[in-house]
C-alpha cells in the first residue's frame, strides 16, 4: 500500500487537513484554522530551532564546565516584550472565532425549518409538512434552520463538510443553521458519546437543488398513499430508525430481531408471555417499557404521538411479511 492510498483524505475532494467545504460558513472556519495553523508552525519552528541550536551550540564539553560568561538572569523588558505578541495573537484569534461563531448561531429569519430528533441510535428529520426521514434532506442555496431535541440522552449533530456541530439536549431545544452551497451527500455523525452504538449513529445530509428537493419531499411524503402497506411499512421501518436496533434477519441486536416474530409466543422479563399479534406490536411501539422481552434492556423510546395510526398499520403489515 502506498502512502497516498493510506493517508489520502476521505471524499478525495477535501484538502490534506479538511473535508470538502460545502456550506457558506465553512470558509470562515477554514480561514481561521489556516491562520492559526501558520501562526503555530512559525512559533513552533522558532521555539524548537532555538532549543536545538542552544542544545548543540552551548553543549557542555567537560563535566565541570561552567558557562564561559555570566549572562543576565532576568530582564523585565524582555518578559513583557515577548508576552505582548502572545496576548495580541490571542486577541486576534478570539475576534476571528467569535464573529463567525455568532453568525453560525444566528439563523436568518427566512430560514427553512427542519426539526431534528435524536435518539439512541438514530436521527430523524421532520419537514414542515410533517414528513419524517432518517437522512437530512435540504435544498442548496437556502438557509436551513435545525431545531433539535433528544428523546433520551445527550447527542450531538456534526456535519464535517459544513463545519457544523451542536449538542442535542434532552429537555430543551437547541438550534443551528447552515446554507449548503453544493448539491451532494455529506456525512452526519453523532459526536456526543451515547452508549453502545454511538459510532453507528450516522446519517447523510442529502443536498439537492431547491426544485429537486421539493420533488423529493412531495414523493416521499405520500408513500402511504402511493405504496401497498407492507412496502410503505418497510420504508417507515428504516426511515424511523427501527432498523438500528431490530434486525430483520434473525440476529439479535440491542432489541430482539423481528424475523418471524408475528404469531410467535414472546416471553418477558417479568416471566409472563403473550402471542405476538397486532395489538402486541402496537403496544410495543407505543408503550415499549410495558412488555420487555427476556434478555433485553428497556431502552426503546415510545413512539406515542410521533407515529400516526396509519404508519403503525403499515409497520405491522411489514412485520407480518418477515418470515
Amino acid at each position: 500500500m502506498t502512502g497516498a492510498i493510506l493517508f489520502a483524505n476521505p471524499a478525495n475532494e477535501g484538502t490534506f487537513w479538511f473535508p470538502p467545504q460545502a456550506s457558506t460558513g465553512a470558509e470562515a472556519v477554514d480561514f481561521a484554522y489556516n491562520f492559526i495553523y501558520w501562526v503555530s508552525v512559525v512559533s513552533f519552528v522558532v521555539v524548537v530551532s532555538l532549543m536545538c541550536f542552544f542544545a548543540l551550540r552551548y553543549r557542555r564539553r567537560a563535566r565541570g564546565e561552567l558557562p564561559p560568561e555570566r549572562t543576565a538572569s532576568h530582564n523585565t523588558v524582555l518578559e513583557v516584550g515577548w508576552s505582548i505578541p502572545v496576548a495580541l495573537t490571542g486577541g486576534i484569534l478570539f475576534y476571528l472565532g467569535a464573529v463567525s461563531f455568532l453568525d453560525s448561531r444566528s439563523p436568518p429569519s427566512d430560514a427553512y425549518e427542519i426539526s431534528v430528533k435524536a435518539m439512541k441510535w438514530a436521527w430523524s428529520f421532520t419537514y414542515p409538512n410533517g414528513h419524517t426521514s432518517p437522512n437530512l434532506h435540504a435544498p442548496s442555496g437556502r438557509p436551513v434552520r435545525l431545531v433539535m431535541s433528544s428523546d433520551d440522552i445527550l447527542h450531538s449533530l456534526y456535519i464535517p463538510a459544513f463545519r457544523l456541530k451542536q449538542d442535542v439536549v434532552p429537555g430543551r431545544y437547541t438550534e443551528v443553521w447552515f446554507e449548503a452551497t453544493e448539491p451532494g451527500e455529506y456525512q452526519i455523525f453523532c459526536t456526543e458519546y451515547c452508549g453502545t452504538k454511538h459510532s453507528e449513529m450516522l446519517a447523510k445530509a442529502v443536498i439537492q437543488t431547491p426544485e429537486a428537493f421539493t420533488r423529493w419531499l412531495d414523493e416521499a411524503s405520500n408513500i402511504l398513499d402511493r405504496l401497498p402497506p407492507d412496502e410503505a411499512g418497510k420504508q417507515i421501518f428504516s426511515a424511523r430508525g427501527c432498523v438500528a436496533c431490530h434486525s430483520v434477519d434473525g440476529r439479535a441486536g440491542v432489541g430482539p430481531s423481528l424475523l418471524g416474530i408475528f404469531g410467535k409466543t414472546q416471553k418477558f422479563v417479568d416471566g409472563t408471555t403473550t402471542v405476538a399479534d397486532e395489538n402486541y406490536i402496537r403496544s410495543s411501539i407505543l408503550n415499549p417499557a410495558s412488555q420487555v422481552v427476556e434478555g433485553f434492556n428497556p431502552v426503546m423510546p415510545s413512539f406515542q404521538g410521533s407515529l400516526k395510526d396509519k404508519e403503525i398499520d403499515a409497520i405491522i403489515a411489514y412485520i407480518k411479511t418477515l418470515k
Partner: protein
C-alpha cells in the same frame, strides 16, 4: 578530607536500610518512603491504564470489530481515561516525587503532618480499589467524564450503578486534599532561614500552586459526584431531564473541577522542567519571578475557563464568547514559561543527560500541545474540532507529551537521590528515543483524523480513516515498548546501578546537600538556603563522578 557537608559515610543507615520488613514500610511516617509507595502504586496505575490504551488502539486497527465488541470497547476507553486521570496523572508528580522531594528541598525532616501524609496514601489506595473494582464489576461505559443523563439513566451498567465508581473518585479526592493541605502548611511554615518566597525552588512554587487548586477545586468534584449519587439513589432531579434536572448543569459542575485539574496535572510538570533546564544548563534560571508568578497566574486563570469545554453544549453563545476570551489569557503565562526555559539555555553549559533529554522532549511536545490549544479556544474552529480526534491528540500532547515527559525527566533526575544508584545512560536514552518516536507516531496522526472529521469515542469508523488509525496504533505499541524500557532501566538501576554521589548533577537545591539516598532524618545539620540556581559553588569531582562544594577560600 572532603567537605564536611557531604556525609559520605556508607556505614550510616539510609532511609531504605533504617528498618526492614513490610510493616516498616506500610506503617512508615517517613515522607520518603510514602513517596516511594506512591511511586509504586501510580506506576502500577500507569501500567494498567497503558494496557487499556493498547487494547483500545488494537481494536481501532480496523474499521469494524477487531478484537472486542462495542460494549467492551466502550468500557475499555472509560477505564483507560478514569485510571490515567484519577490514578496516574493527578497524583503521580505531587504525591510521588513531591512527597519525596518537598521536605528535602526545604531542608527539613518531614512534611508538616506526617500522619496525615500516611493517611492520604491509604485513602488513595481505598479510593483506587473502589473505583477500579466498581467500574469493572458494574461495566461502566460512560467515559471518564460521567456525563449525565447517560450516567444517571437506569440502563447504564445494567446491574448496578455509577454510584460506587463516583464514590471511588470521591474518596480519591480526599487523598488529594490531604496531600495539598500538607504541602501548603509545610511550605508556609517550614521554610529554612534564608529561604524567602522568592528564594524557593520553582518546583516548590509549582507544587504550592497545584496544592491551592487541589484544595479549592476538588470539593466541587465531590459535590458533583454526591449530587449524581443522590439523583440515582433517590430519583431527585438534578441533572436528568426526565426528572426535571439539567444535563448541562452537570457539565458546568464537572468542568469547574476538571479544567483546573488539567493544571493540577501540568503545573508540577512545569516545575520539574524549570529545575532540570536550569541545572543541566548550569545556568541561573532566567526570569525566576515570572516563572514563579506564572504558576500562580495559571492556577488562578484555570478556574475561569471551564466553559471552553462546552462551546457546543447548548450553553448560551454569550457565555461561550466570554469563556473563549478568558481562555486566551492562559496562553500568556504558559508562553512565558517556555520562553524563559529557552532563555535559560542561552549561553549555558548544556549537558544532554537523560533528564535534560526528557525536558527538551517536554518543550517540543508541550509547544505542540499548547499551540493546538489555540485552535480549540477559537470559537468557530472549535465547533468543527470539538469531540473529534483533534481534541484527543491535543490533550494527549499536553498530558502525556507534557506531564509524562516531565515525570520521566523528574524520575531520572531524582532517581540517584531516591535509591543512591545511577541509571544506565545508554539504556535510558534508547528508552527516551522510543518514547518520543512512539508518542508522535500515536498522536500526531490524530490531529489529521480530527481535522478531517473523525469523532472520538467511536468503536467503528468509516474506512477512509483507517490508514491514519493504523499508524496511530503502531505508534502506540512503540510508545509502550519505550515506556517499558524507560521504567525497566530505572528499576534495574535501583537494585544494580552504580553507587550515586550525593550531588551527581551539580544542582544547588538543598536536597543535593545530603547523602544519596538520604538518612531517615534527612540532614545532619540544618542546611543553609542560598540562591537555588547559583551553581558556582559546586566543582566536579572525578573521584565520585559528582559535584562537591568548593572548599572555602581561606583553606
Amino acid at each position: 578530607m572532603t567537605a564536611t557537608t557531604m556525609p559520605m559515610d556508607t556505614s550510616e543507615p539510609t532511609y531504605l536500610t533504617q528498618a526492614r520488613g513490610a510493616l516498616s514500610w506500610l506503617l512508615t511516617l517517613d515522607h520518603k518512603r510514602i513517596g516511594i509507595m506512591y511511586l509504586v502504586v501510580t506506576s502500577a496505575s500507569l501500567f494498567l491504564g497503558g494496557v487499556f490504551a493498547l487494547l483500545v488502539r488494537t481494536e481501532l486497527l480496523t474499521p469494524g470489530e477487531t478484537i472486542m465488541t462495542h460494549d467492551t470497547y466502550n468500557r475499555m476507553f472509560t477505564l483507560h481515561g478514569a485510571v490515567m486521570v484519577f490514578l496516574f496523572i493527578i497524583p503521580a508528580i505531587p504525591a510521588a516525587i513531591g512527597n519525596f522531594v518537598l521536605p528535602l528541598m526545604l531542608g527539613v525532616k518531614d512534611v508538616a503532618f506526617p500522619r496525615l501524609n500516611l493517611a492520604s496514601f491509604y485513602v488513595w489506595v481505598l479510593g483506587a480499589l473502589v473505583l477500579v473494582a466498581s467500574m469493572y464489576m458494574s461495566a461502566i461505559d460512560t467515559g471518564w467524564t460521567f456525563y449525565a443523563p447517560y450516567s444517571t439513566s437506569k440502563a447504564v451498567g445494567s446491574a448496578t450503578s455509577v454510584g460506587t465508581s463516583a464514590m471511588g473518585a470521591f474518596i480519591l479526592g480526599f487523598s488529594s486534599i490531604f496531600t495539598a493541605i500538607n504541602f501548603i502548611a509545610t511550605i508556609n511554615k517550614m521554610r529554612p532561614l534564608g529561604m524567602s518566597w522568592f528564594k524557593m525552588p520553582l518546583f516548590l512554587w509549582a507544587l504550592y500552586a497545584t496544592a491551592i487548586i487541589q484544595v479549592l477545586a476538588t470539593p466541587v468534584l465531590a459535590i458533583t459526584l454526591l449530587l449524581l449519587a443522590i439523583e440515582r439513589a433517590f430519583g431527585l432531579g438534578i441533572f436528568n431531564p426526565a426528572l426535571g434536572g439539567d444535563p448541562v448543569l452537570f457539565q458546568h459542575f464537572f468542568w469547574f473541577y476538571s479544567h483546573p485539574a488539567v493544571y493540577i496535572m501540568i503545573l508540577p510538570a512545569m516545575g520539574i522542567i524549570s529545575e532540570v533546564v536550569s541545572v543541566f544548563s548550569r545556568k541561573h534560571i532566567f526570569g525566576y519571578k515570572f516563572i514563579a508568578l506564572s504558576s500562580l497566574a495559571i492556577a488562578f486563570l484555570g478556574f475561569l475557563v471551564w466553559g471552553h469545554h462546552m462551546f457546543v453544549s447548548g450553553q448560551s453563545p454569550l457565555m461561550s464568547i466570554i469563556f473563549s476570551a478568558l481562555t486566551f489569557t492562559v496562553s500568556v503565562p504558559s508562553a512565558i514559561k517556555v520562553f524563559n526555559w529557552l532563555a535559560t539555555m542561552y549561553k549555558g553549559s548544556i549537558w544532554l543527560a537523560t533528564p535534560m533529554i526528557y525536558a527538551l522532549a517536554f518543550i517540543f511536545l508541550f509547544a505542540i500541545g499548547g499551540l493546538t490549544g489555540m485552535f480549540l479556544g477559537t470559537l468557530n474552529v472549535d465547533v468543527h474540532l470539538h469531540d473529534t480526534y483533534f481534541v484527543v491528540a491535543h490533550f494527549h500532547y499536553v498530558m502525556v507529551g507534557g506531564t509524562l515527559m516531565a515525570l520521566l525527566s523528574g524520575l531520572y533526575y531524582w532517581w540517584p537521590k531516591f535509591f543512591g544508584r545511577m541509571y544506565s545512560e545508554a539504556g535510558a536514552r534508547v528508552g527516551a528515543v522510543l518514547v518520543f518516536i512512539g508518542f508522535n507516531g500515536t498522536f500526531f496522526p490524530q490531529f489529521i483524523l480530527g481535522s478531517r472529521g473523525m469523532p472520538r469515542r467511536y468503536y467503528a469508523y468509516l474506512p477512509q480513516y483507517q490508514g491514519l488509525h493504523m499508524l496511530s496504533t503502531v505508534g502506540a505499541f512503540i510508545l509502550g515498548i519505550g515506556l517499558a524500557t524507560a521504567f525497566g532501566v530505572l528499576v534495574y538501576a535501583a537494585f544494580r546501578g552504580r553507587r550515586a554521589p550525593a550531588n551527581p548533577w551539580g544542582a544547588n537545591t538543598i536536597e543535593w546537600q545530603t547523602a544519596s539516598p538520604p538518612p531517615s532524618y534527612n540532614f545532619h545539620d540544618q542546611p543553609e538556603a542560598g540562591d537555588p540556581y547559583d551553581f558556582e559553588g559546586w566543582v566536579y569531582d572525578a573521584g565520585t563522578d559528582g559535584y562537591v562544594k568548593k572548599p572555602a577560600v581561606v583553606a
